[in-house]
Amino acid sequence: MPMAGGKENGGAASKAGKVARPVGKKHPVLKQKSPAEFFSENKNIAGFDNPGKSLYTTVRELVENALDSAESIAELPEIEVTIEEIEKSRFHALIGLVDQDRVDEELYGDFETDKLKEKRLAREAKEQERLAKAGKKAKEGQRAGGKGKGDASFYRVTVKDNGKGMPHDDIPNMLGRVLSGTKYGLRQTRGKFGLGAKMALIWSKMSTGLPIDIRSAMKGHPFCTFCRLDIDIHKNLPNIHKHEKEPNPQRWRGAELQVVIEGNWTTYKSKIVNYMRQMAVITPYAEFVFRFISTTPDKNISIHFARRTDVMPAAPQEAKYHPSAVDLLLIKRLIAETSKQTLSQFLVAEFDTVKKPLAERLIGEMGPDFASKMAVRSLTDQQVARIHQLFRQAKFADPSGDCLSPAGEYNMRLGIMKDLHPDMVATYQGSTQVFEGHPFIVEAGLSLGGKDVKPGINVFRFANRIPLLFEAGGDVITRTASKRINWASYKINQTTDKIGVFVSIVSTKIPFKGTGKEYIGDDIPEIAAAVKQALQQCCLQLKSKIVRQQQARERQQRKRNLARYIPDVTRAVFEVLDTIADSKRRRTELPPGDAALLEKVVSEEVTEETLRQKLTQHVEQVDNEMALEYAAQTGKVETAPETIFLRALDSKRAFLPDLHSPVCVFRLLAGC
């Protein structure tokens, strides 16, 4: 990506007057492209391939921004997402066009000649007939002709959070300038490019031309900022329509962004809802309200994802670069930005795992041209190259991973239980692993059963705690789950069981693949191994539970199965006995015991019923013996499970003194 190693274009940096390139010597024919222009022309990179995907990406960028904002001040996030469908006439009014009737019908792309119309009607009639035959309502058929090709759909997307808000004066620069973000350090971040809302802004500019509305208030401020702006794509500068302070009597804190964009709800509805659902799984400490307001009220959707916990993972820390993960350009940038004077100080201050003694050893190894007291800014290009070379060859301790913020097993388990209601769930958090100098942690969850889960393997992928929904095929998680786990050995049926596979990878650098950064490649052995190990651990946890469940089920079925064939068997045996008893000739040749038995058959002392009773008794005896054996093995006695109810807490209730133990505290209700 061109922007990955890009210069810090932030407002502060450019104000400091640092000129990176000799811009003045620009050749007259050479046209420079602003970052905003680059993105508007390559919007598929950022996930704006088509209107549907754009709607999806807009929602997700805004939601992720909102989450980050709330988490940055350790506030439990409350996020409201509203997508409002805008009628054509209302949209035209918004952009100042008058609805005009078509005069020259043939001018339009969706004009149909009489012949075509006849054909269409005939086809629709046929379709209706078919649907009627299948017993379905011909709902879709009527709609088919309704929407012409030229009609784009427009939506107003509003996302409101309870985050930290934005300073009044910074709002235009924070939103109206591409690549002017705060997300450019080395840190585990949600965003893929750090573009966030700005791409949505460019998309709204491209598709509707309408500006975006921002409302924001910070803690303790008596006012609320309202700002309406759009972006000047060529200059990469905000174009402010309105920037004013409004009263904020409720002392509301947070931000609300509103954009009007072209989209496609019909095709991306499931993706957007899925995204919200998966986001709720990985972020169970947040509260989400999702609303879709349609022009036809029966299509309205309103989903509330309730908060299940108030334990929030710690915010990810900014990390120093690991020496084995830097490139030449990055070293130069760090040199340019560092506040340290000497080489030794620079190495200790800017790189992970480099302590003073190691820095001295490294400098000694670099050669006679280097000294620990030399000014870091005096390094020549060759010297920097030598540092880079040494960084590549020397051995460094692995990064600690303290800077990462995994969702945590507790949150993951709650998230899965909250939204899938599975029969069983297991979670596992792997230890910190390292690839190419970047620490990463793999967490996995595995669920069986649940509502709205399809039979087979359902993979839920998360990278830096955001769901990945596209291009699952090549993803390391999907491939590991479907190819490298031997489900049968854990008593899990890969095709009929409802398996939920949840894997979350957090890292300071997620090795995304594909243009849209939609999946994590399967070519990093460290990650593939960690994912497999985490899933296997979950499988192991579930296996014992499954085995126990199967045994219990078997126990219930045992008696029934054993009893099932009693009639078949006794009838067959008795029929043979009866036949023998009938032929007198043979009876005399038999040993005395058998002869006596046959006598009883003749005298009807032994009948089919006698055999049946005796065999039934035997089966009961066998069943009891096996139940005893089972109880002896597991130390459990079979008793019916009892339902117990926990009383809800309320303020009126008094408690006994707390009972403390090393792992928990019991607080008993008084007067129970």
């Binding site: 054993l562 058998d594 032994v606």
Partner: protein, 417 residues
């Protein structure tokens, strides 16, 4: 003796193929070597070695043909002890010889697979065996009924008498074999037969249940091999050899061309994997007529497998291998070395699949192949070249190449191993 056709009319297009045709001598000369083999066969003393003679340890007794009264009395003995056991409150069960491959033994002296003496107790009061025990009981009762009435049914009939219990035919078939083993009698003694599958045509006359059957007058379809072999008697033939064919298509060609009239022989096929009736029939025919058997199978591991079933028996039916196997079969064709010798064009040869290669390599280790170095060499060649070919590959030189050039050539040269 032969309806000679004008040679060369078969439309052979290949120089190599034509060259072979030119080498063919008169029919009598062609037959000379087969006739010699046939003479030698007739002079061979009757095989006298049996499993009992060998007195091997850990080998189960081989099953024998039992008359209906004996079968009935065996079943009654079993059922009486079952009833007694139930009445004593002990439930019941059956001791059944194990038929898994771990319990099979290849006996080189006999050149066939026999069953070892391991057996298992199948009891009613156990989750894993309750179903099989129930089916066994039902089958015993049904056979008791059949033997009392003296009628025969097919395996399919047997299955349909209690579909609800048996659920699928595979289950009743398996238990039927278990019952044969347990009672120590052949499956035909149980009055249950397979459905007709094999066919025979050629210079053979026999009596089936009183009717004289002349297999030269059976048209091109041939005579279906009767399922209950005990009703077949009085074999008569002037054939010099028996031609065992793997497939229906090649059988059709041979029958339609009246190959057996040009070269006196009996042609038999089981259309793929041989069923019990065909194997019994071949065994009986061979031991009564005392003529050699020449095998014509595909040049692939599967073809060899079929030969092995005819010769040393299948693992499933090893308890009755003495009645079912015909050890001395000569491998006439199509052998892997024939592919190059008869210049079979590339497009008629098929690459062996992974499964083929696996079977081929496994068979290289089997005693049945190892005992004859010539067979081993042929299979090694197949595995090495990774090529297989069906009998039909010969049709690339014309539909009648098989009957007019290939087989006469093979016979003339005595090219069997």
């Amino acid at each position: 003796m032969s309806s000679r056709r004008k040679r060369g009319a078969a439309g052979a297009n290949d120089g190599g193929a034509l060259a072979f045709k030119k080498k063919l001598k008169s029919d009598d000369e062609i037959l000379a070597k087969v006739a010699k083999l046939s003479e030698a066969e007739k002079k061979k003393p009757k095989e006298s070695v049996t499993l009992q003679d060998l007195n091997l340890p850990n080998v189960s007794k081989e099953v024998v043909d039992l008359g209906a009264p004996q079968v009935i009395s065996e079943i009654e003995k079993t059922m009486l002890s079952v009833a007694a056991s139930i009445l004593n409150g002990h439930g019941f069960g059956y001791t059944i010889p194990t038929r898994t491959s771990a319990n099979q033994l290849y006996v080189p002296q006999l050149d066939r697979i026999v069953l070892k003496d391991k057996s298992s107790f199948r009891q009613y009061g156990n989750m894993s065996t309750v179903r099989k025990t129930a089916i066994t009981t039902r089958i015993l009762q049904l056979i008791h009924q059949l033997c009392n009435k003296g009628i025969h049914v097919t395996k399919r009939d047997l299955f349909y008498t209690d579909v609800k219990l048996f659920q699928e035919q595979g289950q009743s078939d398996t238990i039927l074999d278990d019952v044969s083993c347990m009672l120590g009698c052949t499956r035909s003694s149980l009055n249950v037969v397979g459905s007709e599958k094999g066919v025979v045509v050629g210079r053979l006359i026999f009596v089936e249940d009183g009717d004289v059957i002349d297999c030269t007058k059976m048209g091109v379809g041939g005579k279906a091999i009767p399922p209950n072999i005990d009703k077949v008697t009085g074999f008569q033939s002037d054939a010099k050899f028996i031609l065992l064919v793997e497939k229906d298509a090649a059988f059709m060609r041979l029958a339609e061309d009246r190959f057996y009239n040009r070269f006196p022989c009996v042609i038999i096929t089981a259309k793929g994997q041989p069923d019990v009736a065909t194997r019994l029939f071949l065994k009986k025919m061979k031991s009564e007529l005392k003529i050699p058997v020449l095998g014509l199978v595909d040049s692939d591991p599967y073809g060899l497998k079929i030969l092995s079933v005819y010769m040393s028996g299948s693992k499933n039916m090893s308890y009755d291998s003495s009645n079912l196997t015909t050890p001395d079969i000569k491998w006439l064709g199509v052998r892997p070395s024939d592919l190059d010798r008869f210049k079979i064009p590339e497009q008629c040869r098929l690459p062996m699949t992974d499964a083929d290669m696996k079977t081929g390599k496994e068979m290289l280790e089997e005693d049945f192949i190892k005992k004859d170095p010539r067979w081993h060499a042929e299979l090694e060649l197949m595995v090495k070249k990774k090529e297989k070919a069906e009998i039909q590959a010969l049709s690339s030189f014309g539909f009648q190449y098989l009957t007019e050039v290939y087989l006469p050539m093979k016979l003339q040269e005595g090219d069997w191993i």
